[in-house]
């Protein structure tokens, strides 16, 4: 016992600290349920902004959804948008302050249901913003209702027998649609369920932030996520469920990489 205590005393010293809480995360406990993916993505965003040294020049736009209070957690400037309107608000901020790095943070209900028009048109205009899309296949905040991204057969509070095609239509793969738009510069799908996935997602978010400073179009990062409360599983079970059921429909990887389409094929002025 004394030996272990002595050993720990020698390891746990400030000079041996290799990883801990990002200095950009405020000293408040997040309101998210235990094990919610939102917290992991917040952490990654804070780390990227800190690593890039852009704390003073980054503006986030938070959604309506569980992440509505994102502005309480990451120590940067924020605006809060009405439900689904984050891309429109971010458009205004970026156009007035093009020197800033501007990003939205949105759930699937926010980005792919009520805000679909704002999402598609912002990307189609090639707005020089980053959009972070938390796809947990459900409306978490309001009690676990079906979202456009809900899987076929998935039980939610509004699909108690599982999502049914005839009644509810198909799950919307909005990231695939986004990747078709000429205004999209970088479109990728990530997750944060393992240390390796977290590393990859951090790299992708960093790349999106860097590219967005080059004014080459919209950078879009989907993070396939869990909502263990809505899914009525433990956090660990939720990760397994996500890998088994979500990844086949929402496979991880880059969908587009290379800047917005350089040519203007339909410009009648040639």
């Amino acid at each position: 016992m004394a030996e272990i205590a002595e050993r720990l005393k020698n390891i746990i010293r400030p000079e041996n600290l290799i990883y801990g809480k990002s200095p950009l995360l405020n000293e408040v406990t997040m309101h998210y349920c235990p094990g919610c993916s939102h917290g992991v993505v917040h952490k990654i965003i804070a780390e990227v902004i800190d690593d890039m040294g852009i704390q003073d020049s980054t503006i986030g736009v938070s959604p309506v959804g569980c992440a509505v209070f994102a502005y309480n957690y990451i120590d940067i400037d924020w605006s809060e948008a009405a439900h689904g309107r984050a891309p429109a608000v971010a458009t205004g901020i970026k156009r007035i302050s093009p020197e800033k790095t501007v990003f939205t943070y949105q759930g699937d209900g926010d980005l792919a249901a009520i805000g679909t028009a704002e999402t598609m048109h912002a990307v189609n205009r090639g707005e020089n913003i980053v959009m972070i899309f938390i796809n947990n296949a459900i409306y978490g905040m309001t009690g676990g209702q079906m979202a456009p991204t809900t899987l076929l057969g998935q039980v939610t509070s509004t699909t108690p027998y599982g999502r049914n095609v005839d009644l509810n239509g198909y799950p919307l793969k909005i990231t695939e649609l986004i990747a078709q738009l000429p205004g999209a510069a970088y479109v990728t799908r990530q997750s944060v369920h393992t240390p390796a996935a977290v590393r990859k997602a951090r790299k992708a978010i960093r790349k999106a932030f860097e590219l967005s400073q080059k004014n080459i179009g919209t950078c879009f990062v989907e993070v396939v996520s869990t909502c263990n409360s809505g899914w009525k599983l433990t956090p660990v079970e939720s990760n397994d469920w996500m890998v088994k059921h979500m990844f086949p429909l929402f496979p991880l990887g880059d969908l587009k990489d290379g800047g917005k389409d350089a040519t203007e094929p339909f410009n009648i002025q040639g």
Binding site: I4, R7, L8, N10, I11, I12, R13, N16, L17, I18, Y19, G20, K21, S22, L25, T29, M30, Y32, C33, P34, G35, C36, S37, H38, G39, V40, K43, V192, H193, T194, P195, V198, R199, T234, P235, V236, N239
Partner: protein, 75 residues
């Protein structure tokens, strides 16, 4: 040969006992405490402190950023 040993410090009041760190640890260092914090969560702690290699896996998946990781090289 140089060996790496590590240790973690969990902010037990912030921890929500989600267990994600426990299952991500390659050396079975962590466990959830039988005691609870002031919010009633079984917080994570080093059940087998001698196992830790300071790899940061636990901390990288923690949604509440409540694990600090320390690492040293020993000869």
């Amino acid at each position: 040969m140089a060996k790496v040993i590590g240790a973690v410090v969990v902010d037990s009041e912030v921890c929500k006992g989600c267990n994600l760190c426990v299952v991500s640890c390659p050396t079975q260092t962590l466990g959830l405490n039988r005691d609870v914090n002031s919010k009633g969560y079984h917080y994570s702690y080093m059940e087998n402190p001698e196992n830790c290699i300071g790899c940061s896996n636990c901390s990288s998946v923690c949604p509440d950023s409540c694990i600090a990781v320390y690492r040293v090289k020993v000869e």
